[in-house]
């Protein structure tokens, strides 16, 4: 494992993603999700919305880093809210 040069932040990041996947799987088993049309312009399931939210968050971060000099965690906070919003209303 040493060659993978782990750091605490990246470990936390991947742990969060893994937990999300586990959580989504359990949620799906307990209560299967249905296709639905929300604010996003296409029909999605819960998993689709999570993916869309994560991918767009990554792009928001890139945009933030590329265009501003502000600390990155401003964007991270916004993205957490964004993630919840997309999951709920997307």
């Amino acid at each position: 494992m040493d060659w993978m040069v782990w750091t605490l932040p990246s470990a936390l990041f991947f742990a969060t993603i893994a937990l999300m996947l586990v959580g989504m799987t359990i949620w799906e088993v307990v209560q299967p999700s249905t296709f639905r049309r929300g604010l996003l312009p296409l029909k999605t399931t819960r998993g689709d919305r999570l993916f869309i939210a994560l991918l767009s968050s990554a792009w928001f971060h890139l945009g933030w880093l590329g265009l501003t000099d502000q600390p990155v965690w401003y964007m991270t906070i916004f993205c957490v809210i964004w993630l919840a919003a997309v999951l709920r209303w997307g």
Partner: protein, 287 residues
Amino acid sequence: MNKVENNRAWFFVLPVLVLVAFSAVIPLMTVVNYSIQDILDPHTRFFVGDEWFREMLRDSQLQSALGRQLIFSFSVLAIQIPLGIAIALCMPTRGIWVAITLVLVALPLLVPWNVVGTIWQLFARGDIGLLGVTLNSLGIEYNYTRGSTAAWFTVLAMDVWHWTSLVVLLCYSGLRAIPDAYYQAARIDGASRIAVFRYIQLPRLAGVLTIAVLLRFMDSFMIYAEPFVLTGGGPGSSTTFLSQHLATMAIAQFDVSRAAAFSLIYFLIILAISWVFYTIITRATKD
């Protein structure tokens, strides 16, 4: 087909999952780790956070490589897709010529990528190549190792030579799938050749064309070996595309951390484009 719900199907997928995770997830995690540290040697490293990302996003070399890449990929699509459709329409539909033309047309696809570069190097050089010598004797100044325009067009011609056949084969099989009844109906209506193409053939090709565009865009977006052998990215950096820029950074300069940040940006672009295409394809097949 209506599928049965069965979560034990996961056991069938497990071997694939383990293998691909071994060769995709572990490396990807490592790339993320690299990208947020300054690694001097395996035991001396510092956490730097988002520094490399900021630097890479503002890096003018990267931006121009991305620009060249986009222009190249769109030129590839603009030439290969129409040309591929046209050649597919010209292919014979029955008789012994079908197999012969298929084999001849498919041949460039099976040439190792570095050999594609070699073939074009031997073909286009001004001293020993047929193309180079012919152009020069016609009085056209052509030397792809010196002139950046010549180099760029040679790489483009090479890609057209190498990959148009993929579009041809995809469209050819799409055309084969159109039932004869459609053509008979068109003949009764007295439809012109153009009308047949516009209203019968083109709509039925939509599915394979989406896939052709996706594959050609993605593969041209990661083109590496052919220009590497032919021009080495030069002259200057006129034919240095993204993959080569990345490989130079990672292997030649061993600049691990910057290369990793660059890789992740590259990967996110790929991920977004594939997702858009995948959504289009799956929706098209559902309708």
